[in-house]
Symmetry: C2
Subunit: 146 residues, 2 copies
């Protein structure tokens, strides 16, 4: 089975958590505890979100991560493009370019195109989902519990 990069999940979770916190800031350790992973992994994903301007960081004592974007304006599509574009395509490839057979030698390319198109359909959906929408859903899920 293949799937979407879990760094996408970590990125979204981190941004939502920052947006949820009144001061909009947290350390990698706090985020890692909430996400359930290792702080170093959080730092790796967030350093990527820093480069693209979604979070700001401050090193040193009292430092950490702060939200550097409007959660009501950032879509999951943007985050997906930054963290996981191309990830729905399986790493395993069918066929062999060296073969004579029309099917065998072109299948990898053709499937590649199909996966790209499928991914872009997925992106049109993620385009509509904003960080605040995820928060909204979290609240709804919470309210629905007994």
């Amino acid at each position: 089975m293949v799937s979407v990069n879990s760094e996408f999940t970590i990125a979204v979770h981190s941004l939502v958590l920052l947006a949820y916190r009144p001061d909009r800031m947290a350390t990698s350790e706090m985020i890692a505890a909430n996400v359930c992973t290792h702080p170093a992994r959080v730092r790796k994903v967030l350093s990527c979100l820093k480069k693209t301007g979604y979070v700001a960081t401050r090193e040193g004592s009292g430092g950490g991560y702060t939200l550097a974007c409007e959660p009501g304006e950032v879509t999951l599509a943007e985050i997906y493009r930054v963290t996981s574009i191309g990830s729905i395509k399986p790493s395993w490839c069918s066929g062999d370019v060296e073969e004579d057979c029309l099917v065998a030698c072109n299948m990898a390319d053709v499937m590649d195109g199909i996966f790209s198109e499928a991914e872009s359909r997925m992106l049109t959906f993620l385009e509509q989902m904003k960080i605040t929408d995820v928060l909204e859903r979290l609240r709804a899920a919470h309210a629905a519990k007994p």
Copy 2:
């Protein structure tokens, strides 16, 4: 990185190959050579397509797989549903249901819902792609080569 189950690729490749062949039949060994995998893997995937009626099999000498559907009517969405539904969702889950935090304890569920919707958008695209369309693309890719 996570991605779509590669059994989807094998299933599509096998069906396209059967549709391509004049007699519309082949053994697992022939298909495996074309796909570039082990015959046992092909048999596993195709036994699933047999149960759902897309191929027919004959055991014993002279046996093998034959196409049991109209390649111009079967969509990749049907094949995806049979082989890989749910596979875009990463196996790794963020958060922890036992936590008090609104974000931590509901994120897994919420992301699950988002992945399901994203997958269904992908399916509306695959709904339009038929086995014959894939063959078409293979021929186009072949013609485009120098």
